[in-house]
Symmetry: C2
Subunit: 299 residues, 2 copies
Amino acid sequence: MFNKVVIFGVGLIGGSFALALKQAGRVGTVVGMGRSQPVLARALELGIIDAIGESVADAMKGADLVLIAAPVAQTEKILSSLLPYLEAGTVVTDAGSTKSDVVAAARHALGSKVAQFVPGHPIAGRESNGPDAAIPDLYRGKKAVLTPLAENSPADVERVAGAWTACGAIIHRLTAPEHDKVFAAVSHLPHLLAFALVDDIANKEHAGLLFQYAASGFRDFTRIAGSSPEMWRDISMANQGALLSELDAYLAQLNGLRAMLAARDAGGIEAVYANAQRARQKWIATIETAEAPPPDSAE
Amino acid sequence: MFNKVVIFGVGLIGGSFALALKQAGRVGTVVGMGRSQPVLARALELGIIDAIGESVADAMKGADLVLIAAPVAQTEKILSSLLPYLEAGTVVTDAGSTKSDVVAAARHALGSKVAQFVPGHPIAGRESNGPDAAIPDLYRGKKAVLTPLAENSPADVERVAGAWTACGAIIHRLTAPEHDKVFAAVSHLPHLLAFALVDDIANKEHAGLLFQYAASGFRDFTRIAGSSPEMWRDISMANQGALLSELDAYLAQLNGLRAMLAARDAGGIEAVYANAQRARQKWIATIETAEAPPPDSAE
């Protein structure tokens, strides 16, 4: 049970965390903080938060748990702002999509109090943003990755893990560099590729004609290009090294396919497509097995 | 009304065409032809077709309409096989995703009888294949693009258009080169990119770890990589010129983004992402307006 939870950023991610904790009956009061008064007012109106913090000092007073759910580039500024009011009993976590940069920011901002910061990343999202997009079930059955610091006490890590578990998430642990390498490949690069394709098409002279014939395959392929440009700019910058490395591997792959296509190497092209189809079908089957209710489930 | 429709390839596309015509009460008998006896038997069992053609001669006898719904590389062979039995009253069409190569194949195979071939492409699909994936509503509200030949009689074009309209589709007309340029950008390139990404990841040493953390964004981005490798190999080869041109434009775009990322040009990256998000939101709004029921609709 958390008597007081403070959330910096009450949009989709922070708002869904609040709603999930409330639905689970695991929180007394949720206090919202953020850059935009209208967003905070909307979150209050929707019952996501119980109060808007009058100041950082006011918000942090007696807080059990603080979640930072803002674009990752703001992490250091937020941590610096709360440091003067960080009580010994408060644990701070975040929901950022990158972890090495967040850890560096936390060390820089919090100094010797970094032990109270447990880095995290819930693997859930939708392409819509803001408090109106928040839902209590966003994290149900999804992974929440923690990348604890050597300085963290096991009890603090457990408190953060317990909050995500209460939201219905399944806890995974990785090191920050492992985390960033994995998500550069399966999340950050696909976002960059989808944004790049839509921008490429939108800039063509006959863009109107092209969009007219784009269908469901294009819609799904580019769904992630509906995501927040600011958030994904920050992620791209924060995970620059790993993202460049994945992008280079992908560019090499595309150049290989280009050569096959130019040489009319139908067998080579088919081998790539078939390997991809097989790998994806295997992956989907694994997900479906994992998500299926157990045989003795009442549902 | 079509007394006898012959379908070469009774999978998702051909099977859904048959089911839609039947549901609309617009067809007497549907005869199936294809390479695989088990597939034809399954289509018969599912009520997609009423009979399996005993031979091309038998199938073509008295046919009003013939649909070729096979991978595009087979078009010429199928047309050559039916030419000796092509009656004056039969109109032939296809559902291929590329049109310039299909037109060339039709001219080569049919010679002076090419006037009886009206090229077409229904813009609908799912990532599952085969007769079990066929549904009568696949084409409802979707576009069917015709790329008529100068030789086609207006009456034959109307018959083909009427069949697709009966399936619920909306008829569009393009020239074959226009069609191929448009679909290279909005369909063929995204398929290649999705196959390329999944293959790239599947070939990495830590592929298991990567797939473990791939989530819904990755699933949607790569949905089209679940498509038939044979079909997409054929499309890639058939539309090689336009696809290479789109791939080169995209590679230039990615190299530009790579340079911005390497230079930590956050503003440049955000501009691309924001333009993509805006363009996609505008496109989605257009689709949703088009798909919304009219204000006076009973539903």
